[in-house]
Amino acid sequence: MDAMPKWADVVLIPVISLVLAALLSALVILAIGENPWEALKLMVDGAIGSTYGWGYTLYYATNFIFTGLAVAIAFHARMFNIGGEGQAVLGGLGVALVCLYIPWPHWSLALLGGTLGAALFGAAWAVIPAYLQAKRGSHIVITTIMFNFIAAALLNYLLVGALKPAGSMEPSTGKFPEPTHLPSFQDMFSTADTVMFRGAPANITFFVAIAACIAVWALIWRTRLGYEIRAFGHSESAAKYAGISPTKIIMISMTISGALAGMMAINNVMGEAERLVLNAVEGAGFIGIAVALMGRSHPFGVFLAAILFGFLYQGGAELALWTSIPRELIVVIQALVILFTGALDNMVRMPLESFFLSRRRAAQRKSKLTAAE
């Protein structure tokens, strides 16, 4: 029997971990001479206090949903994909090529094409480490880290070379043509007299991300491929016995993972910047790890965790804008969340387990007593 009820595992533990991370972060804020409560208020106000704030929060969340799903699906196959960053970089390249070199008649088609380009390029960048893992046994964690660096070098090479418009000083592509511009929340939700989400970067990609959550959920828990991926993740030897090809599962799950990470680019590159800049990903690949851990690798959990991190990001940006708290505080919070929900999971879990166990023991004793009567 499991030591804990399921709700405790999926809700209580992440919440406690989060509270611990928040407490430590508050201590850090206190230590640098600021007021944590004020900081929190500022963050809440800046991130969810207006449609403008929401527009940023959901924009960031969209990025994190994609990278979080990418990490989560790989987790299900027991692959630790640290390469989301590099895959998203390549996804951006895919989007840029699609948008720059194909004349699109309408944004909807461009979105389709961009999604395809992003997914394809992201997947391609994941497939090589996957192949090396499946066929040559190279540890995927190390290879994906290496591929992050190689992706950075590659993009750098292209953005200061072939893709840079002549005369530009920035390492970036030129602006994407008008028909590829995606509708932003402002375009979608503003009415004639009220402007909503003014200037915020959230765009239609958010709904693509939600669709991706649903698709991943169905894939993992409802399809035969998902069954095989999870089976492989739990036990490679058993999967082999059942005729589930490890190579196939590693390749497929990493391909999907890379494609999801790459698809982040339709949000930040196509939806927001409308051109490809050097560090467009800005660590979202890594935040995906925290998001997947917090979300327990479940698409719904990933969704919630992504919103939370979107909040942290936007709130943190506001903090950096209006107080002297550096934006790196977000990195600290992110680190603490990963630490508590990922690495120190047992620290929270063990006492909880013994708590639930002793409660159950007590209940059993009581029921025995009543039965004896």
């Binding site: 035969r224 095989e228 089976a231 036990s235 016995y241 005729g243 166990l357």
Partner: protein, 529 residues
């Protein structure tokens, strides 16, 4: 009256919800061999691990030679003169024998002097107890029997007076086991105290002075071996009467179902595992494969089950099956009517984190009956599970319980139910009762025989010679990737099979048990004699 070498008083230990040991008391007199038997999960290993400081008891006291001791860790146990040989050896495979023996018992900060002393003492111990080992061989290069000797030497090098062995013969051949018991006999003569955990009643009856029986975390009885019988011990263990003999009628073989011709397998390390295997299994018969572990039986099952590549010809119902390429996997084998109960249920047969209902489809999850459109049909799987659990008396009959939460015997029943109920033409079955207690063995054996009686072909692999002899209609013996010969179980005996398992041919009358045993020590290690 001398004080007991070991006395445990009121030992209790719980793992989460599982009460592994409950108020256990036991006394073991010096210079005796004390057996402990009990069903799987009865708590034997837990008790010994507590004695060795591996786990900490929740309650209870330990006395060594009449003195109360606190055993906080293995260091304390070693200091108290206790040595333990675990079922799964605790050796560093990339180290030499000598380094393994010295590890943790070094004399000083520098290695060289310690190794020199160990080398000298090893020689003395080897002579004294017939414990020959090659000190400079890497552990990964020597056989299981040899590794076990290293474990015993480790304990003796640390001046252990009390030696605990947990299921020491599980991986040994009969002859190796005999050698082990001779060593134990020597040790007892020197005044050492030995605790022996085993599932094999015969070993208890032949070697121990006293025996304790455990059931569900409690000590149910301690008796003098000379005053009890196997039947009585079995009953004490299970709590009811058990049949120790398999009931079966002679077989009526039909058409050839499986025909293996010149099968060769080379594993990914480049070792030639199967060397031109030829065998046939007919409908309605059980072909038993005997042999020391590591002589190619596992590879045979794996290549037949589709997850090892090979060359040669395998005909199933007269048509060849693929041995390489994409059609050579568990899925295509199942499609050809081959079912497979793997040797290791926890590593292969089940996904331990999946619930029973998910495991019931494992390997058959692509079947149309478990599918609606692009999705899996969970309702069908649940219903299927309930039916199978009822027929195979799986306890508890809860389809939503994770496989890891079933006991070993019940896990095996789930695998059997899944494979047998598919109504295959051929059932591959490896180590059907490994680590399964007497009660469950009885049930599993009955199921296998019943399947045979339905006219199915069965290929049985087991390292338990008794099991092979009891179930098989024909016995093939494997050694070093070859089939050494086939025998009729009614017309052979353990000595002859032992010879074949050691790779020897000729008249059994011409060789001695000692000779067989010497060669057996190398069987399965890949070394030439």
């Amino acid at each position: 009256m001398t004080a007991p070498a070991i006395e445990l008083k009121g030992i209790s230990k719980a793992f989460g919800p599982v009460q592994a040991n409950k108020d256990i008391s036991i006394r073991v007199m010096p210079g005796t061999i004390h057996g402990i038997i009990g069903e799987n999960g009865a708590g034997k290993s837990t008790l010994m691990s507590i004695l060795y400081g591996f786990y900490k008891a929740d309650a209870g006291e330990i006395f060594i030679s009449g003195k109360k001791v606190e055993i906080r860790d293995s260091q304390a146990a070693i200091a108290a003169g206790i040595g333990m040989v675990f079922q799964h050896f605790k050796l560093v495979e990339t180290f030499t024998v000598l380094e393994n023996i010295v590890l943790g018992a070094e004399d000083s900060g520098l290695l060289r002097p310690s190794l020199a002393r160990a080398r000298r003492e090893l020689k003395a111990l080897a002579d004294e107890y017939e414990l020959n080992v090659e000190p400079d061989a890497l552990v990964q290069d020597i056989g299981v029997g040899m590794q076990q000797r290293v474990e015993i030497l480790k304990a003796l090098y640390r001046k252990a007076d009390i030696l605990i062995l947990d299921e020491p013969t599980g991986v040994l051949t009969p002859a190796e086991a005999d050698h082990l018991f001779r060593i134990l006999e020597n040790l007892r003569r020197e005044g050492k105290t030995i605790i022996l955990i085993t599932h094999k009643l015969r070993e208890i009856m032949e070697t121990t002075d006293t025996v304790s029986v455990m059931r569900r975390g409690q000590m149910t009885a301690t008796v003098k071996t000379s005053e009890t019988s196997p039947q009585e011990l079995a009953e004490l263990m299970v709590g009811r009467k058990v049949l120790l003999q398999v009931d079966k009628t002679p077989s009526v073989p039909g058409a050839v179902i499986l025909d293996v011709q010149n099968l060769n397998v080379t594993d990914d390390k480049g070792v030639h595992r199967l060397k031109g295997i030829n065998l046939q299994v007919r409908a309605g018969e059980i072909l038993g494969i005997a042999g020391v572990a590591g002589n190619g039986q596992s590879e045979l099952l794996e290549v037949l089950g589709g997850y090892e590549k090979g060359t040669g010809t395998i005909l199933m119902n007269g048509t060849p099956i693929d041995l390489t390429g994409t059609k050579s996997d568990g899925q295509s084998r199942r499609a050809r009517g081959i079912a497979h109960v793997p040797e290791d249920r926890q590593r292969e047969g089940l996904i331990m984190d999946y619930a029973a209902w998910e495991n019931i489809a494992f390997g058959y999850h692509l079947d149309d009956k478990f599918r609606t459109g692009p999705f899996m049909n969970h309702a069908a799987m649940l219903q299927d599970t309930e039916e199978k659990m009822a027929r195979f008396d799986v306890r508890p009959p809860d389809p939503k319980l994770a496989a890891k939460n079933f006991s070993g015997g019940n896990q095996q029943k789930i695998v059997l139910a899944r494979e047998i109920e598919r109504n295959p033409d051929l059932l591959l079955i490896g180590q059907p009762t490994r680590g399964v207690d007497i009660g469950a063995i009885e049930f599993i054996h009955q199921q296998i025989v019943a399947l045979r009686d339905q006219g199915k072909a069965i290929l049985l692999v087991s390292v338990e010679l008794e099991e092979i002899l009891a179930l098989s209609d024909r016995i093939a013996v494997m050694f070093d990737g070859h089939i050494m010969g086939e025998r009729d179980p009614a017309k052979t005996d353990e000595k002859e099979l032992g010879m074949l398992m050691a790779g020897m041919t000729g008249d059994p009358a011409d060789v001695t048990v000692a000779q067989i045993e010497e060669r057996l020590a190398y069987a399965g290690t890949g070394e030439k004699v």
